[in-house]
């Protein structure tokens, strides 16, 4: 059984056209006898994204993703329980500090724990995904050095395992809403509708970081700081209504994770829906995504050499 396009995994896969300015006369003669050959040559100019290659490697993405899932759940004594314990423990802590001690008010007088948890779940998912994507290259040096495959496979595959935790945690959100929340409405079905934006944001920024990380390992140490900062700049442990009107509240609207957490809270708990303005963050994320894809493709030819 052969792949349809041979070597579609190659770093630089282009075919010299007869008449291609980059091929000398001798090269063209040499290649004429090898129809359909793949060529590995120094990268030049802007790369093509070749997303079809990724689709062709979907099985590899799946297997690598499942590896992460299996390893995670085998290593952990408590297995799936851990996926649920972690955000629950965090929720308890934040509820204690911000709800009980600082006496912050949840919207609609909801129980503070439930109010936090609904936003903490997508946030955790986002943080896990983004860390996973940004470490996906440096965490697999063996693959990069010894195997040829489209490098984008790695960041894609690292998106899979956080979804398992997310699914379990979302089930807990639903249970909580049924017990402690307001009467559930059809909106609860819309909880997952906000998740793809978290995925997209994590992937877009993770791509940049993953590629930079290969060359400058120092960047990975800055990620936890940046995430902490971002966490508090996103309404998770507090309500968006508490933010005074001004520059800060406008910046908050442009934070895509604000749209996600506010959206999930709205769907689960019936708090205020996200404002229309916050949808402006979506084109921003797409811009980071596309530029990240190009940046990644452009740097990938040296991944094997420097990782």
């Amino acid at each position: 059984m052969k792949l349809e396009t041979p070597l579609d995994a190659r770093v630089e896969q282009t075919t010299f056209q007869v008449g291609d300015a980059r091929a000398s006369e001798a090269d063209r003669d040499a290649l004429r006898s090898m129809p359909g050959a793949s060529i590995n040559r120094p990268p030049k100019g802007w790369p093509e994204l070749q997303l079809r290659q990724i689709w062709a490697h979907r099985e590899l993405i799946w297997f690598l993703g499942m590896r992460d899932v299996l390893v995670r759940y085998k290593q952990m004594f408590l297995g799936g329980l851990w996926a649920v314990m972690q955000p629950l423990a965090q929720m308890a802590l934040y509820a204690l500090v911000f709800g009980y001690i600082a006496k912050l008010k949840a919207e609609n007088d909801l129980p503070y724990g439930v109010f936090i948890f609904a936003a903490l779940v997508p946030w955790q998912y986002f943080a896990n995904s983004m860390t996973g994507v940004s470490m996906s290259l440096v965490g697999n040096p063996g693959l990069l050095q010894k195997i040829a495959f489209p490098r984008l496979v790695l960041p894609f595959s690292s998106l899979i395992s956080p979804i398992v935790d997310l699914t379990l945690a979302t089930a807990i959100v639903v249970v909580m809403v049924l017990f402690y929340g307001p009467t559930p409405s059809w909106r609860i079905l819309l909880i997952p509708a906000f998740y793809p934006l978290a995925t997209l944001t994590a992937f877009a920024i993770g791509l940049w970081l993953a590629a930079i990380n290969v060359r400058y390992r120092d960047v990975q140490h800055l990620i936890p700081f940046a995430m902490l900062f971002w966490f508090f700049m996103t309404p998770v442990v507090y309500s968006k209504q508490l933010v005074p009107h001004g520059v800060l509240s406008i910046l908050l609207e442009l934070n895509p994770m604000q749209l996600v957490t506010t959206g999930v809270r709205w769907a689960a708990l019936g708090t205020d829906p996200p404002r229309l303005m916050s949808f402006l963050s979506i084109p921003g994320v797409l811009l980071i995504l596309v530029s990240g894809l190009y940046f990644f493709r452009r740097s990938e030819s040296s991944f094997a050499d420097v990782v």
Partner: protein, 423 residues
């Protein structure tokens, strides 16, 4: 139309060396203290100026340069060359793992690369899970793996452990399973890099016969190995690399014989320190300062014919006195098997420089052997190391006749040819 499947033109690969080391030691502290410098480096890089490292030419290394060749379908190419000559780099360029700095390389067909055994294996996963994962990594489709799963497991010979996590495997079992997956890959071009050296002999033979089968199906194979006998036996052509350049392409036996003759077996890197006393009071007890390989007339020599005597003179220094010291010297294959060992007499030695001469017979079928060294005394545990120097034994007797068979028929060569008589 000729059936060329690989063609390389003026292929060159430039590496920046030293870069890795600098990054390996990055910690949070150095990151913060280096922040101004790092920022400056980035600014320069992004403003298009070459970073500092690029200016110093001693940081640059042409791992391959000006390499041109072509390979036709069905050939089995052996690649020989000393460590660092660019063999692995060449395979990486063929596979498309990394891009060349200069020139280009064109390939036709699906490539299977086996640059390492078990890439992507995860120790927490079971054998079964790893077969699927590793198969997918090597480029097989899930349906293919499923279809060949039983074959793979049978080839590996570890049916009983297939649902056990790989971390419970012995390293031999691990290698067998990893190899079994790779052996069932069905590429048009197969690249194999020095991986045959691992695994026991029976299994190696199994893999080589597999390679022979592949040849019949018209696959093209690149085989990098230090086992020059393997190249002579299985390859249809050989390439010799030296400092990143192709210095010869041709018939395997010619390439291998020239290669062996040119190898400087005699002088290793000296002095070589031995016996590190473990921390806290780390110190070296001494060092090997010279090793001289000679014939029976004390002339320095690296290449011997079968049956010739080999003299090895070892000079070492002791920084500390050692009681009841015994020095041992042996011939070791590249896989680390000690073929033979000789021991010195045991005596109390003070500080100072000593020498001892050992004599062996060149009666081994392994073409190229390392000289191994061992030292033990009442005061320190045994210390041994394999790679003090090299001896090359040609596959020919002193009178020019050739032995039957090769290393697969046994390591020790015998001259005797008993006659057959009616019983």
């Amino acid at each position: 139309m000729s059936d060329v499947v690989i063609r390389a033109q003026r292929l060159g690969k430039l590496y920046r060396i030293g870069l890795r080391e600098r990054q390996a030691h990055q910690t949070l502290r150095t990151v913060l203290s280096d922040l101004p410098r790092t920022a400056w480096r980035w600014m320069r890089r992004w403003s298009g100026q070459p970073a500092g490292t690029r200016k110093r030419p001693d940081n640059l290394l042409w791992a391959l340069s000006d390499v041109s060749f072509e390979v036709e379908r069905g050939q089995i190419l052996g690649v020989v060359g000393p460590n660092g000559s660019g063999k692995s780099t060449l395979l990486k360029l063929i596979a498309g793992i990394t891009a060349p700095t200069e020139g280009w390389i064109a390939t036709r067909g699906r490539i299977g690369s086996l640059l390492e055994v078990g890439t992507g294996f995860h120790t927490e996963l079971t054998g079964r899970e790893n077969v699927f994962l590793n198969g997918a990594i090597l480029g097989m489709k899930a349906s293919e793996i499923r279809q060949r799963f039983d074959e793979i497991v049978e080839f590996s010979g570890i049916e009983r452990f297939i649902d056990t996590p790989v971390k419970r495997y012995s390293s031999g079992m691990y290698t067998r399973l990893a190899f079994a997956v790779a052996a069932h890959l069905d590429p048009d071009i197969l690249l194999v890099d020095e991986v045959l050296a691992v695994g026991d002999r029976a299994f190696q033979r199994k893999c080589l016969s597999r390679i022979e089968n592949l040849r019949e199906t018209g696959q093209t194979i690149f085989l990098v190995t230090h086992a020059t006998a393997t190249i002579q036996r299985y390859c249809t052509r050989a390439i010799r690399l030296e400092n990143g350049r192709v210095i010869a392409i041709g018939a395997p036996h010619e390439i291998v014989e020239h290669y062996i003759q040119d190898v400087d077996g005699v002088s290793g890197r000296h002095p070589t320190p031995f016996i590190e006393v473990p921390p806290p009071d780390t110190k070296t007890l001494g060092q090997v300062v010279g090793i001289l390989v000679m014939d029976d007339e004390d002339r320095e020599r690296a290449v011997f014919r079968l049956g010739e005597p080999i003299r090895v003179r070892l000079t070492f220094e002791l920084d500390e006195p050692c009681r009841q010291t015994v020095v041992a010297l042996g011939l070791v294959t590249f896989d680390g098997v000690w073929l033979t060992t000789q021991w010195s007499e045991s005596c109390d030695l003070g500080r100072g420089r000593y020498q001892v001469t050992f004599e062996f017979d060149a009666q081994f079928n392994s073409l190229s052997l390392q000289i191994g060294f061992g030292l033990s005394s009442q005061d320190v545990p045994v210390h041994s190391q394999h790679d003090l120097g090299k001896v090359v034994i040609q596959n020919v007797f002193t009178d020019g006749s050739r032995p039957r068979g090769d290393a697969s028929n046994g390591v020790v060569v015998s001259r005797s040819r008993p006659g057959i008589s009616p019983a």
